[in-house]
Symmetry: C2
Subunit: 336 residues, 2 copies
């Protein structure tokens, strides 16, 4: 599969991890975390060309960004060095931002090791780190030179992490493809098919709107306006990203029905599927609307205090609404 972008294109290869690592260029530095490094130590060499970071969302900070770019400089990496991210979204986003900015941009390869990173963050070139003030507040659009999708890495993934990724899988179905929702619901889609199909959907969206300026890529944010706010008020603890997005999708479906944007009954279908997947669909903290709305206003999607949502119109379709009245959001949240 090939993804085209403003400065060229890159391949997405479906292969095993051994082949992906074996095919890396000589002049490269691998960035990974302790968990991945331990789980795949047979295949990932830990030597002077590997940087192993602590696992967890707190690694996705300017502090660790500074550590990695300084380490690249100390190891005499040049403009010709390729950075290789082997890990989940935290590693991919952090290493990607290092690649985007080290010597004003070097090549990088994404080898995502979680379902979430495979179907979401590894494709599309969005890289960055969090600030204490909010998630992903600094970063770049910096396309990788290659993405390798190794389905085998999913076998070591704990069930909670798997469901975490499935939240984004369901999202693709609900916003873009009703048939896919049916296939997922009837458990007809293999993991390998799920990976390919989600990545195809994502690739088509980012090709159409690489820099998220046309209102196409922003549609992928269904569930994310409220989901990100949940993560923020909880300090990125308690819920995993996909779990917060699952709760966010249900809340935004209710909001959509209330606004008359979403077909009545859609929320029920969505809630049932996410629940069967083992994902949370409600959270008592939603009723503290003030804290959540304040968090939403700092979101990159908001501007001048207006609240923007990608809302379902019906199963398999959605629409960007950039000026949802705060009062509607408040009364929906308070009613949950």
């Amino acid at each position: 599969m090939i993804v085209r972008h403003s400065l060229g294109e890159y391949p997405i290869e479906f292969c095993d991890l051994e082949m992906a690592v074996g095919g890396l260029p000589e002049d490269r530095v691998i960035v990974t975390d302790e968990n991945v490094s331990t789980a795949w130590k047979r295949l990932i060499p830990v030597d002077e060309r590997t940087i192993v970071l602590p696992p967890g969302e707190t690694t996705k900070s300017l502090t660790w960004y500074a550590e990695v770019v300084r380490e690249l400089a100390r190891r005499r990496c040049s403009r010709k060095t390729t950075l290789v991210a082997i890990g989940g979204g935290v590693i991919g986003d952090l290493a990607g931002f290092c690649a985007a900015s080290y010597m004003r941009g070097i090549k990088y390869v994404q080898i995502p090791t979680t379902l979430l990173a495979q179907v979401d963050s590894s494709v599309g070139g969005k890289v960055g780190v969090d600030l204490p003030e909010g998630k992903n507040l600094v970063g770049a659009f910096w396309p990788p030179t290659k993405v390798a999708i190794c389905a085998e890495v999913l076998v070591t993934l704990p069930p909670r992490q798997f469901a975490n990724g499935m939240a984004e899988v369901w999202k693709y179905g609900f916003i873009l493809d009703a048939d896919f929702v049916n296939r997922l619901s009837r458990k007809e889609a293999s993991i390998s098919e799920v990976l390919r199909h989600c990545i195809e959907l994502k690739a088509a969206v980012v090709e159409a709107d690489e820099f998220e300026r046309l209102g196409i890529r922003a549609k992928l944010n269904f569930g994310h306006t409220i989901g990100h706010a949940i993560e923020k008020v909880l300090g990125y603890e308690e819920f995993l990203h996909g779990e917060a997005i699952s709760i966010g999708m249900v809340a935004e479906a209710i909001l959509g029905e209330r606004l008359g944007v979403t077909a009545p009954g859609t929320t029920e279908i969505l809630r049932d599927e996410l629940e069967s997947q083992g994902l949370p669909v409600e959270w008592s903290g939603l009723r503290d609307a003030d804290g959540l709305i304040a968090a939403m206003k700092l979101d990159k999607k908001a501007s001048s205090g207006r609240l923007a949502f990608s809302l379902l119109t019906r199963v398999g379709e959605c629409k960007l609404i950039e000026d949802v009245p705060e009062s509607d959001v408040r009364s929906v949240l308070s009613s949950l």
Copy 2:
């Protein structure tokens, strides 16, 4: 004047500072330093839309970068906010990198207040900060949305700072335009003509090779391989950038003559002009070749330990040589 780049184009406007500041959008944050803010307090409002930083090269660090992007977040800046850099190269490069990465990129306007920044760093979209390991080691190619050149700001510039900028002015002449060297030498070019001509030359080069990949933009690095190394071994003290570049140009002209690349006698012309401008043309520390060569190898222009130089062929022409033997560099430096 219009500069075209891969994602669009931007105007370079020649106007006074009052007009430049008056024409800024409402939704904007000005980044400046204490010196500029004091010198131009009548025209630059210091309010909640202005961030005033300490002056000096040490401000161009990841520490201050983090301060500024966090401040933008705290002030609720959105993707629609325009960042405005009013200052020298440090402010322009730092604010530019903040604009390149805040929310994955927002608009920014450059209002350079030194001759050096006007003729060099404000045009071309190179932004970034220094690491302890080297200068400009992280950054981006991020074109401004507008550059305003206000010649009047030069009247408050101390003579040493003026000569500092003139080093880059002479560089443009020596690498690209023998007639311009003659006009400068005969003192026929007004400041206003100098500004326009240098910016035209720079704009043409960056349009031809925006990302410094074709060996065209890299020609602008005449004097910079040795000049940057001088700055690095001195910890960016003692010499201003243009002064280090002046010494570097003379040393690289001698190197070019030795390699048979530069026409004999060119060094003498160059040295005389720079000396008349009040710029340093030699430095006893050059004879410590080891330290300088180690610094050159970490430069972005180097790769795999090879030394790259933009060398004059004759007055008004230059050539990129990417594999200069270390032994030649060493013996030239040791002989100085």
